[in-house]
Amino acid sequence: MATRVSDVSGPEAHPAIAFALERAGKRFGTVQALHDVSLEFAAGTTTALIGSSGSGKSTALRLLLGLEWPDQGCVRVDGRPLERARVLALRRRVGYVIQDGGLFPHLTVSGNLALLPRHLRWDRERIRERAHELTTLTHLPPSVLARYPAELSGGQRQRVALMRALMPDPDALLLDEPLGALDPVVRHELQDELKAIFRRLGKTVVVVTHDLAEAAWLAPRLVLLRDGAVLQDGGLADFRERPADAFVTRFVEAGRRLPERAR
């Protein structure tokens, strides 16, 4: 993997990662965040986890990366149960983006991008090339590389967070409300860009959002969670035509009105 230098769009070159949750349960104190959840995320597919806040969607995502560990059940990565010893290696193959970017304020954009590559002993030239390549992909001017996060707009920060996640050319992307903190115009613009990037990269993508319209735009497969359990799993058409219960209907109704208001 360390030999792949500037491969932005090579789905054939290396396999995407297949994730699975197997009867996974997770409790925080008295709150059962996840309850007996089984989900498969096949290699190369894009899935959106949706639900209201507290539904357990972020917890499900964080389990995949070993940021949390299930109390019951297990997490499988490419069919093998995830072990603590393999977590660092896994994380280096996975790009992770959170709501407000999680950029390190003491480092410039370049510094943020170079953090992992430098640890992986990439040479300076390779880091620079990769960073420039990604500015093109994310539609940022190369001048942002010298800036500090505090000098960027919210949309620019999210693009940089995406760049940082893509630096090591990961085999999967996990995004937790990646557009949650952005104003509607920027959000709309980035939705289009994300969709294009997902399609172009061909990685396994799991994106968490509370917005059904966004989820349906970004991913062909939607998984709706409620109170830590999967309520419905399928395409937008399934949600509309065969809602699992009244809650799904209400969720779809609310989601249908939202984009109309935004546009």
Binding site: L88, R91, Y96, G102, F104, H106, L116, H119, A150
Partner: protein, 493 residues
């Protein structure tokens, strides 16, 4: 471990000159003791014995401990202190031969009496005593409204105020502790009515004080002697001849005159000692600037070494404390307890472990530096936003790299602030280190208090204040240089 610093020093000095180590003379933090220390030093010089005088080393316990541990070889003491404070189970009126027999097993020798008796006494302003008709201590019983101000040592000694009150049945309720050097002025100004005196104090005639007669013979005799380590019999027999020669040569009048020359007439203690021995006085010390430079070096060394050592321990401790919650509680609690130990006590506690001089002072300052640095390191790390901590983890960086590249830089400002607080506090606390012979800016402050000389006090206090400001400014500069633009921008938002 106990004497590691001394051992290191010894090893450095060993090649070829083990026998040439100078005799170390100590003296307590009051003028008479300093003059007696100078007498021993000048006498040694006269006899061709190499000797150094470590002056103003605090109170009896510091000197006695230092003598027992071999940090000093000689110091002037009083028989009453030996019988009442230092030796257990000795008759209060034991003679010097008895004391000599008791001290020998401890490896300590004692000279014959130097010739004067500096017993405690109570004194009050002559006019006031006359007006109230007070001549003896017994007469005080009739005046319960009188205000007493005693030196701190007298307040707590076995043979001081507690015993005196019992013996005479004194009823006074207003009793305060004072520094001995200040108590004369307190009496002279009328702030207190009665204070404790030493029989040879120069101020008694100067302030027109009346010494109240000890009509119940409560106070023991305080004959001045030199105590020395018996090892000197082999290593420096000439020094013992010098001390024996001084015995019997100093009567009360002579001592009171010498005290007056130093305390009231501004003569140098070394010059007064030289005059008694009939030798020319040393050239008058170093000039102001060399003196200041030397003290600055001593002071900065105390602060810099203690702070550097504290950094080496406190930052890792702070990191551990932030990692392990239970350990954090323990470490912060312990460091907090250390901070509550009064600074003078902390310095004294270090003497049995490290002797006197620079190292125990550094050890005490080191302990004081721990809390602010540990606490701020812990707080700085604990204050990092969880999403930043998690972003570093999600990148796949191992914990050590996360700490170095992300967490410590993010916690840099609070950590530096902790180091700055520790440094500034150290600059101030280090002025007390002079009491255990570590020098620095505290030395002129001590001498200035002893001699009631504001100019000398300022000679230590002003540079200490300037140094504190410089340290503060230096740390602010370091903070500016070490903090990149990003966090400063963020802090402004």
């Amino acid at each position: 471990m106990r004497r590691l610093p001394c051992l290191c020093l010894l090893l450095c000095l060993l090649p070829g000159l083990a026998a040439a180590a100078p005799v170390r003379i100590g003296s307590k933090q009051f003028t008479e003791s300093v003059i007696l220390g100078e007498l021993a030093r000048v006498g040694a010089q006269q006899a061709g014995v190499a000797a150094v005088h470590r002056r103003e080393l605090g109170g009896t316990s510091i000197l006695w401990t230092a003598l027992l541990h071999g940090d000093i070889d000689v110091y002037p003491e009083y028989t009453g202190t030996l019988t009442h404070e230092l030796l257990k189970g000795v008759a209060p009126d034991a003679d010097i031969a008895t004391l000599r027999a008791r001290l020998r097993p401890l490896g300590i020798g004692i000279t014959d009496a130097l010739g004067f008796d500096n017993t405690y006494a109570l004194g009050m302003r002559g006019d006031r005593a006359a007006a109230l008709g007070i001549r003896d201590i017994s007469d005080l019983r009739a005046h319960p409204g009188l205000r007493f101000g005693f030196s701190n040592e007298f307040m707590h000694r076995q043979d001081g105020w507690p015993g005196l009150r019992g013996r005479y049945g004194l009823p006074q309720a207003q009793v305060r502790g004072l520094d001995h050097a200040l108590s004369y002025r307190a009496v002279a100004s009328g702030a207190v009515d009665v204070t404790d005196l030493y029989g040879t104090d120069a101020e008694i005639p100067y302030y027109h004080l009346r010494t109240l007669a000890d009509d119940l013979h409560y106070f023991p005799r305080y004959q001045a002697v030199y105590l020395y380590r018996l090892a000197l019999e082999r290593s420096a027999p000439a020094m013992l001849r010098v001390l024996d020669d001084l015995a019997g040569r100093i009567d009360e009048g002579t001592m009171r005159r010498m005290n007056a020359e130093v305390k009231l007439h501004g003569m140098k203690d070394g010059a007064v000692a030289a005059a008694l021995l009939g030798v020319p006085a040393d050239a008058d010390g170093a000039g102001f600037w060399p003196r200041l430079a030397q003290r600055t070096v001593e002071h900065v060394k105390l602060v810099a070494v203690s702070l550097s050592l504290a950094l080496l321990l406190a930052i890792p401790l702070g990191i551990l404390a932030a990692r392990l919650r239970w350990l954090g509680q323990v470490v912060l609690g312990l460091a907090g307890v250390l901070q509550t130990v009064p600074s003078l006590a902390m310095f004294v506690f270090m003497i049995p472990l490290f002797g006197i001089g620079t190292w125990p002072a550094i050890a005490a300052l080191f302990l004081y530096s721990l809390l602010p640095i540990v606490r701020n390191t812990h707080a700085g790390l604990a204050g990092i936003a969880p999403e930043l901590r998690e972003s570093a983890a999600a990148l796949g960086l191992p914990p050590a790299v996360r700490l170095r590249a992300v967490e410590l830089p993010l916690a840099l400002r609070p950590i530096l602030a902790g180091v700055k607080i520790a440094a500034v506090i150290n600059v101030g606390t280090a002025t007390l280190a002079a009491l255990i012979g570590a020098g620095g800016y505290g030395q002129p402050i001590l001498t200035g208090i002893r001699l009631d000389d504001i100019r000398l006090i300022l000679e230590g206090a002003v540079p200490a204040a300037v140094l504190a400001l410089l340290v503060q400014a230096a740390f602010e500069l370091v903070e500016r240089l070490l903090t990149p633009r990003g966090p400063r921008l963020q802090a402004r938002q």
